[in-house]
Subunit: 445 residues, 2 copies
């Protein structure tokens, strides 16, 4: 067959359901690509090809039975998904990118993994994460240029989907860990509203920030997998409590009029490369009068440090015990971050939370008049070398606000991909995907 | 007429509605009592007798018009209510018990005051609060013994209702500021579920703890006024989002079986006086097998310090700017509290919030099997002298958990009142009042 590994998830699922090819055919092509490339890309923390093929065969066998019964296949039947290695899987190790968790075998699947299995997905393997989903770089390399970072912390998920090794993948974002790798690797990435995807069984880093996100090869891929994952998490105080519009119909709905868009440079703008600034500015210009540059009132100018305060304090609360008990298992990079976090006073953290409430109200008011915000997905293309996973300054603000973000692989700077970020109203994930579709169809770079 | 000031709110409202007496008659009796007693009790931060009488006359005039139209009077028509002076009133000063706010005139009523006016209540005046609803004692004295504290911070509200100067009153609780004064002054007090009563226009001390509560002369008084106040507050992230059962029908509902009760000594138990321990133990014994002493798992044993951490850090976040700008307007007592709070690290505050989530789950599980918790309302009777407003250790834990609490004036120790506290499930305020009624009818001291 060949090249099934490059299909979108929507086409892969449709092809399997129609009997055009099998889940095993698809997995075989993915594994061929892994064999050809992964000694260089190194996207996988755990991948057992025999087990992956066996799961695919099981999916094919189950499909035969279902067809005989006249049942419709589940939405992801037979589609391979890579799971970031901070997300628990009962049948594979989950090591959180840290020697402190070497060989760890969870007792149960994370709620999001269980949902994927229930939707027929084949859990192909565990993708590389940076140490504890934090900033110390991983071994993974960017498939567009092996001398560059794939970003982090969802390094293997971003690189694996971009390199054709796996059709879909899960990531998590606390700073910029879903959207930045999407931008660096030139794929579609989606960080939904805070708490839209259940977090039970996912490594906790910052409970008011951590968000599970998804990677795919089109906006429809994002909707396909995120629809399966959009579930309340009763045990999680930050689970999204509002109504949940189905994403695929929302994405596909025809618009009568162009959306109203706000281009927000954000306080991270001076950190962006000249080329990235030019590329997004030209893109925004191509959208014409639908997109108006907009400034936000204070304390938006402090949003980078507000996000950093919340993240640092919560990271320390969650990782402090590990640092205390096993300092030798923690990287110097994370240690020095935590040492800084120890200096942050409780009331400064509270003020950062209260400022968030104010900013969330400001954005709710903005979204009464516009459909989405347009921003850079990253400060530039993937950085050369592996000393850093890249600058998350264009992501932290939106994570802090809990807003849904889509990265569209629409820009190219010096032959490397760069994303356009579409940010929507809290809880309006379906509408945000729809707006992103309009942006993808109408903007030119 | 005479002694109308001693009526319950339910009887006062019914009497006015029936034309047995007027709002002016009632207010005149309240003002007579104030004139006779308040040079000693000092319950009022602001009270203009002429304005109070004028409002009562206006209520009487409005009632005539309503009757002529065949309209039913509003539930609190003509009933005097005292408002703790941390709650904004557009027609009276709101000084928050602090020289920093001397002469302050709010631009608008707090949402809860507006709701009272809409329900026909006569806003009689502003009751004394401790400095910024914190711990530095106020001038108010306990009507049962003028050499004792009325408690705090809702000092004037508790003393005013107890002394027959006003029929109902509003208080606020962040540590033990509603339930403790109820206990010390021998009246009924109710701190509803966190966020049940809107906080817009109320001085913010600790946004995850502050709760508006009510005082009255019976459980039905509490339901009468709290039903008027139970409203969502869209601008408040901590407003209660669940369904709201009407309180009066819930309180009055007949039970088929006795409730299941858990007596929890709490980690504050060693701080209680011997006499208080004996009194509540005898009371619990009188309830027989319906009430079983219960212990809670860790981290319940740390709950006093967990609450203190949250309160200190949030107090500092909200009051820090005042301390910084105008240290000369802040008491030494509050200053030293805030100096301690500055030492609390962000991650310790976060851990105290996370521990709360765990404890809330533990209590939710407990409340699957029981109707309410029974505990002391205070560590003993009102303390002699005015160096302290008394120990809030029996209140902070429940404020921290956000649970509805009722104080019933059922115990007497050395001729001074002491409350029995009934604590119910989160959001189940109506059921909690109903359980409290059973406890009031069936327990003996």
């Amino acid at each position: 067959m060949g090249k099934l590994n490059e299909l979108t998830a929507v086409d892969a699922a449709a092809g399997i359901a129609a009997g055009d090819f099998t889940a095993e055919d698809l997995m075989a092509d993915c594994l061929d690509r892994v064999a050809a490339r992964d000694n260089e890309v190194e996207a996988w923390a755990y991948l057992n090809p025999n087990y992956a093929i066996r799961q695919a065969r099981d999916a094919d066998a189950a499909l035969k039975v279902q067809k005989a019964r006249g049942e419709k296949p589940a939405p992801l039947h037979g589609v391979p998904v890579g799971i970031k290695d901070v997300i628990d899987t009962v049948d594979m190790p989950t090591e959180n990118g840290s020697p402190a968790y070497q060989g760890r075998r969870p007792q149960a699947d994370a709620a999001c993994v269980a949902a994927l299995r229930a939707a027929g997905a084949v859990i192909m393997g565990k993708t590389v994460t940076t140490e504890l989903a934090n900033i110390a770089p991983s071994k993974t390399r960017n498939p567009h240029d092996l001398d560059r970072s794939p970003g982090g912390s969802s390094a293997g998920s971003g690189a694996g989907v971009a390199d054709g090794q796996v059709t879909l993948a899960l990531g998590t974002q606390t700073g910029g860990s879903v959207i930045r790798p999407a931008s660096f690797n030139g794929i579609h990435g989606f960080k939904p509203t805070l708490g839209m995807i259940p977090r039970s069984g996912v490594l906790m880093q910052s409970h008011t920030l951590d968000t599970v996100g998804v990677y795919g090869r089109s906006l429809e891929d994002l909707a396909l997998i995120a629809d399966v994952l959009s579930l309340p998490d009763p045990g999680d105080a930050h689970s999204y409590r509002g109504s949940r519009a189905p994403l695929m119909p929302g994405l596909r709905a025809e618009r009568e009029e162009p959306p109203r868009l706000a281009f927000i440079k954000t306080p991270a703008w001076p950190q962006a490369d000249d080329e990235a600034q030019k590329a997004i500015s030209a893109f925004v210009a191509s959208l014409g009068e639908t997109c108006v540059e907009t400034e936000m009132p204070a304390p938006f100018d402090d949003i980078l440090s507000l996000h950093a305060t919340v993240m640092a304090v919560e990271d320390l609360a969650h990782y402090g015990p590990l640092l205390e008990n096993s300092p030798e298992l923690v990287s110097d990079m994370l240690k020095s971050r935590m040492a800084e976090a120890e200096k942050i006073r409780g009331d400064d953290y509270v003020k950062a939370l209260l400022a968030r409430e104010k900013l969330q109200q400001d954005f709710a008011a903005l979204f009464e008049n516009i459909d989405a915000v347009i921003a850079l997905s990253a400060a530039g293309t993937a950085p050369r070398g592996f000393e850093t996973t890249g600058n998350p300054a264009f992501n932290g603000p939106w994570t802090y606000l809990g807003l849904p973000c889509v990265s569209l692989p629409l820009l190219t700077v010096s032959d490397m991909p760069l994303g356009v970020q579409v940010i929507g109203p809290f809880g309006a994930d379906a509408a945000t995907l729809n707006t992103a579709r309009w942006v993808e169809r109408n903007g030119t770079s």
